[in-house]
Symmetry: C2
Subunit: 106 residues, 2 copies
C-alpha cells in the first residue's frame, strides 16, 4: 500500500525543510559572527551587538530574525531592550562537538 510510503516521504520532506531553514540561517558569515559573539557572552542586546560588529541596527535586526526564526537563538525582552542568547539545545543537536568553541555552548 502506498499510504505508509507517502507518510514516510512527507516526513522526510518536512525534515529536510526544517534543516534547510537552520542551515540557511547559518549560511552567512555575518550571522556566524553574531552566533559566535552571543556564544561568548551569556546574552547580548541589539544595540550592544550593533556596536560590536559594526552593523546598522535595521540590518542586524534582519539577521537576528533569521537566526531566531530558525530557533538557533532565543529572545528575551526586558523593557525596550531585546536580549538574545543561544538556543543551546538546538545548536547542540545540530552541530558537532568540534564546532563547540565557535558556536556551541560548553
Amino acid at each position: 500500500m502506498s499510504t505508509e510510503i507517502t507518510v514516510t516521504d512527507e516526513t522526510m520532506e518536512t525534515t529536510f525543510q526544517k534543516y534547510e531553514k537552520k542551515f540557511k540561517a547559518l549560511a552567512d558569515k555575518k550571522r556566524l559572527e553574531i552566533m559566535n559573539l552571543i556564544c561568548q557572552r551569556s546574552s547580548l542586546c541589539v544595540c550592544d551587538l550593533s556596536e560590536l560588529i559594526d552593523m546598522p541596527q535595521s540590518k542586524l535586526s534582519y539577521h537576528l530574525k533569521i537566526l531566531l526564526d530558525a530557533e538557533l537563538l532565543i529572545k528575551e525582552t526586558r523593557g525596550t531592550w531585546s536580549y538574545y542568547q543561544l538556543n543551546e539545545k538546538e545548536v547542540n543537536h545540530l552541530l558537532s562537538e568540534e564546532l563547540c568553541c565557535l558556536f556551541r555552548p560548553s
Copy 2:
C-alpha cells in the same frame, strides 16, 4: 600591540568564510536529499541519482558542484561516469551525532 589582534581577526574571518560555504551548501532541501541518498549507498553516479530524485542532469550537476566545492562530497571519475560519495571526515567534523541517520556515515 595591534598585530596579534589583526592576525586573530583574519583567522576568524577565514574560519567564518569556510563555514559559510559549507552551511550554504547544506542550506537547500534538494541538496540535503542528495546527501541523504548518497549517504545510504556507498556511492552514486549522476545519471542514477538523476532518476532517483527526478531532477534534470544539468540542474543536478549544478547542485553536486556546490556540495563538492564545499568539500562535503568526493568525486571519483571512472570513464564517462562520475561517482559521488560522502566526504565522511568533513561531514563528521561539521554535524552532530544526532544527524548521523540522515547525513552522517556510521
